[in-house]
Subunit: 512 residues, 2 copies
């Protein structure tokens, strides 16, 4: 079918169903174009992954930025390097029609640092393809990119490299979708803006400032974030928010120095027991935080719960997956549990264990807490509630280490150091961005995406999203078992292919 | 005064007070002889300390054994090398009169390993003398051993070397006392046996077996242990027992592996909170162990309490010393607190803290417990009581790591590994050994010793003492701030001198 023939077919379709702008390419056509584009897409991804992208290194940032700039210029985008107090950002824009809406796409270009020795391949930046065997282990296979197009490939194959899933793979799916449309002479259904981030793994600290400094540059109707991992079912996934995070480090103090447990056992109180009483008071046996007001503001409607019930999972499945007999009791479903703020002890240490063990009464207990946040429970409030709760347990707060006077005066001494991390954000389900993306993906893949009201984890993008003030949704492409942030990060080829399908669907689907 | 004159004086004294056998040397004479012997004693101690004595090394054991053997042979003792399944022991004996009682003295010859780099002197086995300055730091001074005898010396000077206090210093005080008597032509007031231990710091594992194998060799009326540190007041000290120890390692299990605290926060229970509830249930806020039966059998009489009240210390002094506002509530005095078994968490670990912190729900909590024991509360019983208590909290015990089936079946999983260490021992106050030693020290020093019913710590000698079945008391010579087991171990010269005085007093005081 020539371009002219296709245009004619669309006009015909418009006449019949009145929806050409929403679905200008039939699904079969999207599939055919994607499969034809796949070898080139894999080659481009392999080339892109070969550029090391640890955001700690300016030369790596620049190399990736240069690649992105050349790539977007080549596609006819206007490209702007945005200077920030830290590393630069890259902005690309293609105006289709000033009368059309605008969508801002977010691409994460940097990756986690690599510990090469921990990878099962010589170079984490050089792609290796592997197949999972019946025993669950992966065996390397020859690179499956055929010289010619149209060769069938195995969706279960995996491409191993740093950033394959997080998030150069999704970025190349998006680039491929642009190429496919361009090759067909089709324009996106709206104006396209793209912001490329080279320090997401370091916190994306300069993004909110860039938005504040150049507000008009970022003006858009929607934000689509091409980052993050699919729901555990590996069904196509949209997420509408992320929890935020605040952290607190506590030190519960005992005697001035660690003491001989024989000489002082039954005399000098061991701070482990004080810490245990404090921790035991923080949560009940069902996992509910006992701090008054901790959950205030969180309300789930029947409609919210209905949406959560549609996510294809059961609590039993997840219990089996993580190996626990009982889950905590907050909410009626796993998705509901994620709508509440959490309080976790991520680290706990006193004295020595194992080979290092010594018969001492420890001088202190270190408690590392992280609290996940939702929009109704901002970090400042949650930190203050925790502090008040601890004060209510009779603790005297010290700045760092107690003074001699404090040691002899107060039986309960604690230091409290807090830090606010990513802020929570959330876009409502059932709004135009939801309807648009759900329709686009449903059209491209022939099935509805899993729509999650929030992810449990936190994203550095929170301040950026909140500063933009746009409806924002993450379109998540990679397989959930992708080992992101770890050695042997990988991307399932079937996910990469569906990612291209989805990006084409999204680009060609007009915003109603 | 010639020997003949002195003998005449004793006969005169006998006529007057009828107590020559109890105090054959007036205190002034003991002091004069000790001060005259001090330079040679320091030279001998310096020579002895120069022989490295880490019990891990057979060649070091042999070198010390050879030195001890030659020294005791030189003093007219019969010396026997005792072979054991491990390192040898050395036994020395001097029979005065078969009709007299016999006292067995225990000397510890080996020392803790040294970390030379951590010492403030080139070689931990080469004696350095130091003086404490007004700012609490030590400055090296010239070696104060005069060429001639009778030169005054400063009791506050300290002799730094590994084993200066623990316990070659006390051993040389004893050897010097034997020399002083011999030079004066005086015999000890009873038959003397000496057992020398070359692996005390490794647990004295072979001592009880040696006693069992050669019971007649060890037959005696009393055991005097020349090991251990004085009461914190640095007053002359006798201790009549030591607590024992049992240890337990617990692992409280959570999910199969550590989980992302965002993805699973509010769903997967964090084992830290379960562990905290368990620990909080173990002790009340006043430090009393809540395990039923834990203290059963411990009863302190009014006489016991009276003796404890005589120990020169206050709870406030000790609180200030260790830097705590309130002590635990067991017993009315610090000494009373030590008469009870204890339960201490010596180590606690989950997840990561500090620079290593990661936002995970830990998969387990490790709890290292040590329990000090008294004769009424044997380790087997205490361990079993702890196990029953944990079972009563609803825990299912696993051997090491839970199986998949256990993970999905039991919400509370724990592993429990116990080990029995030193056994407790105690000799009653107010018995003949107490009266004899108290009289001897009071005579030699002009003041009564501090008499402690038990030390809080544990001693590897427990099984040896219990196997011997003899009344056993530790005569403790070194200053309490002697840094034993640590770098910069030291012995205060005033303590060494008083140790010689005490040993002379003990050797010349007949057993009534």
């Amino acid at each position: 079918m020539t371009l002219l023939q296709r245009c004619f077919a669309y006009l015909l379709l418009l006449t019949v169903v009145g929806s050409v702008r929403a679905q200008p390419l039939p699904r079969e056509e999207i599939v055919r174009l994607t499969d034809a584009a796949l070898p080139a897409a894999l080659a481009q991804l392999t080339e892109f992954l070969a550029i090391p992208n640890d955001g700690h290194y300016p030369e790596q940032v620049e190399a990736n930025l240069a690649w992105c700039k050349a790539t977007f210029l080549d596609k006819g985008f206007a490209v702007t390097r945005i200077a920030t107090p830290g590393m630069p950002l890259l902005f690309a824009e293609r105006q289709i029609d000033a009368a059309l809406p605008t969508v801002l796409f977010y691409l994460q270009i940097d990756g986690q640092p690599v510990d090469t020795a921990a990878w099962d391949q010589p170079d984490p930046y050089q792609v290796v393809y592997k197949r999972k065997g019946a025993d669950g282990t992966y065996a390397t296979v020859p690179t499956p990119i055929p010289a010619a197009t149209g060769i069938p490939y195995d969706p279960e194959l995996r491409l191993f490299a740093r950033s394959a899933s997080d998030s150069k793979g999704p970025a190349v799916a998006f680039l491929t979708a642009l190429d496919v449309l361009a090759a067909e002479g089709l324009a996106p259904a709206y104006n396209v803006k793209v912001i490329m981030d080279f320090q997401e793994e370091l916190g994306s600290d300069d993004l909110p400032g860039a938005v504040a400094a150049q507000r008009e540059l970022f003006e858009a109707d929607f934000l689509v974030i091409l980052d993050g991992t699919r729901h555990v079912s590996n069904e196509p996934t949209l997420t509408f928010g992320a929890r935020g995070i605040a952290t607190v480090t506590l030190e519960v103090f005992g005697p001035r120095t660690a003491l001989h447990s024989g000489q002082y056992g039954n005399f000098a109180p061991n701070p482990v027991f004080a810490a245990a009483r404090l921790l035991a008071a923080l949560k009940d046996e069902q996992g509910r935080v006992m701090i008054p007001g901790f959950y205030d503001g969180v309300e789930l409607t029947a409609a919210d719960k209905l949406e959560m019930n549609r996510v294809p999972e059961t609590r039993e499945d997840i219990r089996v997956m993580v190996g626990i007999a009982e889950n905590e009791a907050l909410g009626d479903t796993y998705q509901e549990a994620l709508q509440y703020p959490s309080l976790n002890v991520r680290g706990l240490a006193a004295g020595w264990v194992g080979q290092e063990v010594r018969t001492l009464i420890p001088d202190r207990v270190t408690i590392e807490i992280d609290m996940r946040l939702v929009p109704e429970t901002p970090g400042e409030r949650q930190v203050e509630l925790l502090r008040q709760f601890i004060a209510g347990q009779g603790y005297h707060f010290v700045d760092s280490v107690p003074t001699e006077e404090e040691r002899l005066r107060y039986p309960k001494l604690i230091s409290f150091t807090s830090s606010l991390g990513s802020v929570p954000f959330r876009t409502a389900l059932g709004t135009p961005i939801d309807r648009w993306l759900t329709a686009a993906i449903s059209h491209a893949l022939g099935k509805e995406p899993v729509r999650m009201r929030t992810t449990g984890g936190s994203q550095p993008l929170g301040p950026f999203v909140n500063r933009l003030g746009l409806p924002a949704v993450s379109l998540r492409i990679p397989n959930p078992d992708n080992s992101i942030h770890a050695p042997n990060e990988n991307l399932r080829l079937g996910n990469f292919r569906e990612g291209i399908l989805e990006c084409i669907g999204v680009l060609v689907t007009p915003i109603q």
